[in-house]
């Protein structure tokens, strides 16, 4: 995955995520918004077929990269949890 930081301050971040779409960004946004440290989390895809999504977020003074890292490990955990629950019920 290729990332490009468009803008970053102490509590704000615009991040372009190459090659991804709603599948990933919507999940990430949702998990970020569940975090109390996050004030704003949203993403924008300028053109449906030629643009890469840009994630914009603003925190309550925390390092946004740190917050995204936590969100991503939550997301991996969610997937593991699903795989676990699924293989248990199927077998």
């Amino acid at each position: 995955m290729e990332l490009k930081i468009i803008d970053k301050t102490n509590d704000e971040l615009s991040l372009e995520i190459k090659g991804e779409d709603h599948t990933f960004l919507n999940m990430l946004k949702f998990i970020l918004l569940e975090d109390d440290r996050v004030n704003i989390a949203t993403y924008d895809i300028k053109h449906v077929s030629i643009s890469d999504p840009v994630l914009y977020m603003k925190t309550e003074g925390y390092d946004p990269i740190e917050v995204i890292r936590d969100a991503l490990s939550n997301m991996s955990q969610e997937c593991d949890e699903f795989l676990d629950a699924f293989s248990k019920t199927v077998n």
Partner: protein
């Protein structure tokens, strides 16, 4: 997260996913349709084709045939370390036939015995007397978002779990007649819907509209989803669901890895 499987056959699956966020359910749905890596024919070397279909038509038909393979051992061509092609990113299959004969997907001879078309009975072209077909097809790994040939999940979808409640029913039976799915029954304390039948509810609200005393509330549980999954045969339905969640995990792990270096 809780899962209750309602149906699980080779190509079809139906399950209830509860205690999950709507974003996860939608991510999973989208991943099944577009992010699961599958193998499909992308290049064809035609040595002889005297059939009624011309080369491009034949190529399209071949590309859409689902192929069963263990994609954990294969990589997409762009990600492969090799210069041009290697067994890790490319699979070759040959087809040779002479008419009169109907050519089927099962006539392919694969270079790898583990990799073969998931259906043997897909008609490719009907050869008349004397017509010949001789070709080599090269299959590569790809994702459904790029072309329908790699689409492993077919019309996968979910709906939120319906919750219909009855209170102080006067047993007028009008909701029973109004329900287009015929799932409302008369119980001892008034109209009711059995748990199994609740899955059939489409949240059309016909029952609530027709009720004269507003005794029915139609609602949904937004953390529970009824999933309907269908596979094209390149995976079993069970594998498809697992592959989809693995694809999602790969994305988040991949981004986490990149962020470690920031």
């Amino acid at each position: 997260m809780k899962i209750e499987v309602l149906e699980m056959s080779d190509r079809f699956a139906k399950f209830v996913l509860s205690d999950a966020s709507i974003a996860f359910a939608n991510g999973l749905r989208r991943a099944m349709l577009a992010e699961v890596p599958t193998l499909a024919i992308t290049e064809v070397n035609l040595y002889n084709n005297t059939s009624v279909l011309y080369d491009e038509q034949l190529g399209l038909r071949l590309s859409l045939i689902p192929i069963k393979a263990n994609t954990d051992e294969l990589v997409p061509k762009e990600e492969c370390m090799c210069d041009d092609n290697c067994p890790a990113c490319e699979v070759s299959m040959t087809l040779s036939a002479e008419g009169p004969k109907m050519v089927y997907s099962g006539d392919f001879v694969s270079s790898d015995p583990e990799i073969f078309p998931s259906d043997e009975n897909i008609p490719i072209v009907e050869l008349k007397d004397g017509q010949q077909l001789f070709l080599e097809a090269l299959a590569h790994v790809g994702h459904g978002k790029n072309h329908s040939r790699w689409q492993a999940g077919i019309a996968c979808g979910y709906k939120t779990y319906p919750v219909v409640t009855f209170h102080n029913c006067d047993k007028c039976r009008s909701c029973i007649e109004a329900c287009p799915k015929d799932i409302i029954q008369m119980g001892p304390s008034g109209a009711e819907i059995q748990d199994n039948d609740m899955l059939e509810c489409t949240l059309c609200r016909s029952c609530a509209d027709v009720c004269g005393i507003n005794a029915i509330t139609v609602d949904q549980d937004e953390r529970a989803f009824i999933f309907n999954v269908e596979s094209d045969g390149s995976y079993s339905a069970e594998e498809l669901i697992q592959q989809a969640s693995k694809a999602l995990k790969k994305k988040s792990d991949g981004m986490l890895e990149v962020l470690e270096h920031f």
